[in-house]
Structures are given as structure tokens and as C-alpha cells.
């Protein structure tokens, strides 16, 4: 499996994401935001956490309109896989590859701690190695993770089984405690928590590792 990890000015989890993909057996290419094309043969694009473009205007908004993001949108529309974590999730909602929006945390504070996550679906190549309802311990670190969607969209996400993860207890005001959502074709996942920071023994939790292992397994077999 070939993964591309994008770096924007202000990304700060790009290396960690590359390490997590590589540890799962992926070949990883690092890609700069000004590049206009993804490397040949990329299976999955990782959009990392951080504060792309200083979070100016809105979190993820300027990154979503960068040259490389046009290539990422084209990749997703061809059926390619994309994993957006934290700021990466914000970028994915700004590109409209994922529905809804991420607003300022309800408590207005930056939240940086480990939280309990519940696996809400195993029906995706990201979550296939988990058990339905499994509880995971994964860190969050964000100021704008308050997932906002109208009642119709929440109902649609539920009906289509596209809520990937929920928080075990309220964290940031997200509607229905949604922590991660899938695209309609289930190949684009955005999530606020950081699985790449829970993928090595030294992190204190390895609960995030199976996302990378599941992807590598699915895409290498294919």
C-alpha cells in the first residue's frame, strides 16, 4: 500500500502520521501543499493534524483550497482513500468531501487529553479490525472539534451507518457525540481524535494502530 502524507505550513502531526502508516507496512511519500499532483499509484492520502495556515479565516479553509487539495479531491472522487485527522478532518469538511462542519468547542477551551471513543461501525476499511461498540483510548487535541450537523444530516449519517466513532462521554459539544464520519462510499474518514498518537507502546495506548493496519491489510490484499 502506498500512502501520501501532506504537509501544510502549520501541520504538526505529519511526521507522526507518516510513522504510523509506515509501522503498519505502508510505503509512505511525504507531499508538500504546493504540489499539484499526488505521487503515481497512491492508495491513501493522509491529511494530518496541526494548524494549517495558522487556522486563519476558518480551520482548514485555506488548506482546502490549496493546490494539493484539488488533487486530493480528484483522488477521492475517483474512489481513492483519504484519512483526515483533527485539522485533516476540518480540511475534509471544508472541501465538502465530508458533510457538516467543525466549530469552536462548546466550552471554548482547547482540549488536550485522552478520551474514550466508541467504534460506531466496523463496516469500513478503516474500522474493520475493531469490534462494533469497542471502546478505545485515544488522545484529542483541538479547539474546533465541535461537529455540527442539522437533524436531517445526523439522521442520514445514522441511516447510512456513516458515523465511524463517537465519544464515550461529551467532549466538545459535538452533535450526537460524533467524533468521526465516513463519506458515502466509505473511503474517506475524518476524525478529531489522533489514532497516530495511540499507535506505539510508548504512547501509552496502541488503540489507534488498527486503523492503519486495517487500511494496509485491505489495500495490500486488493
Amino acid at each position: 500500500m502506498h500512502a501520501a502524507v501532506i504537509t501544510f505550513p502549520g501541520s504538526n502531526c505529519d511526521r507522526d502520521l507518516a510513522v504510523a502508516f509506515a509501522a503498519a507496512g505502508a510505503r509512505v511519500t511525504r507531499v508538500w501543499h504546493k504540489d499539484t499532483d499526488l505521487p503515481e499509484g497512491v492508495d491513501v492520502v493522509g491529511i494530518p493534524g496541526g494548524f494549517s495556515f495558522g487556522d486563519y479565516l476558518r480551520c482548514g479553509a485555506i488548506a482546502a483550497n490549496s493546490p494539493i487539495c484539488r488533487a486530493v479531491v480528484a483522488h477521492a472522487k475517483r474512489g481513492g482513500y483519504v484519512l483526515g485527522i483533527c485539522n485533516g478532518f476540518q480540511v475534509l469538511t471544508e472541501t465538502r468531501l465530508l458533510p457538516g462542519a467543525l466549530m469552536r468547542n462548546a466550552g471554548l477551551k482547547f482540549i488536550c487529553r485522552s478520551v474514550d471513543l466508541t467504534v460506531a461501525t466496523t463496516q469500513s476499511d478503516f474500522t474493520a479490525l475493531y469490534q462494533q461498540g469497542q471502546s478505545l483510548r485515544v488522545p484529542v487535541a483541538h479547539h474546533d472539534g465541535n461537529y455540527t450537523a442539522g437533524p436531517d444530516l445526523v439522521a442520514q449519517l445514522r441511516d447510512e451507518d456513516r458515523i465511524a466513532f463517537t465519544y464515550g462521554a461529551p467532549v466538545n459539544g459535538s452533535v450526537a457525540d460524533i467524533a468521526g464520519v465516513l463519506s458515502e462510499n466509505r473511503r474517506v474518514l475524518g476524525m478529531m481524535p489522533h489514532p497516530e498518537r495511540a499507535s506505539d507502546e510508548s504512547h501509552g495506548s496502541t488503540d489507534g494502530r488498527q486503523i492503519f493496519a486495517a487500511l494496509t491489510g485491505a489495500l495490500t490484499a486488493a
Binding site: 476558518r58 485555506i62 458533510p99 462542519a101 468547542n105 462548546a106 471554548l108 465541535n146 455540527t148 459539544g173
Partner: protein
């Protein structure tokens, strides 16, 4: 030509920052503030001299970048 864009959260979208400002005003003794909504003003200086063309340009800018129309509404003032 100058343009001014106002971006606000849509009605019905809870504004946690506006709510915090409202609470702070109450603490300072400014009673009777029933609601506060916080938005942004973006000023643009354009080459375009025709008002209607400028309005169309800025509207495209709003739809593409300046506002997230999932949660925000915008209005454009020209001149």
C-alpha cells in the same frame, strides 16, 4: 472599488463565542442583553470598477472561501 463582506453563523447554529460574550456582559452589569452573535467583517480592495461585476466576483469569493455556507451566511456591500 471597495467591498465589505459580513459573515455570520446562520440562525439556528449555536454560537458558543457569542454566548460567552453575552455571559461576560452580564457579569459586567450590562443587564438585558438577550443574545449575542459574533461574526466577521472582511474588507476587500478590488481593481474592478463596475459595481455589479464586483458584487458577482465577491459573491464567488464568499461561496469558494470567505464563508463556509454549511454553517455561515454572508452579505456583500459594494462601494
Amino acid at each position: 472599488m471597495k467591498a465589505r463582506v459580513h459573515v455570520m453563523l446562520k440562525n439556528g447554529v449555536l454560537d458558543p463565542q457569542g454566548e460567552a460574550v453575552r455571559h461576560a456582559l452580564g457579569t459586567l452589569g450590562f443587564d438585558g442583553v438577550k443574545g449575542v452573535r459574533q461574526g466577521k467583517v472582511i474588507e476587500l480592495d478590488l481593481d474592478e470598477a463596475d459595481a455589479e461585476t464586483a458584487r458577482a466576483q465577491v459573491t464567488r469569493m464568499c461561496e469558494t472561501l470567505l464563508a463556509n455556507t454549511v454553517i455561515e451566511s454572508y452579505s456583500v456591500e459594494i462601494g
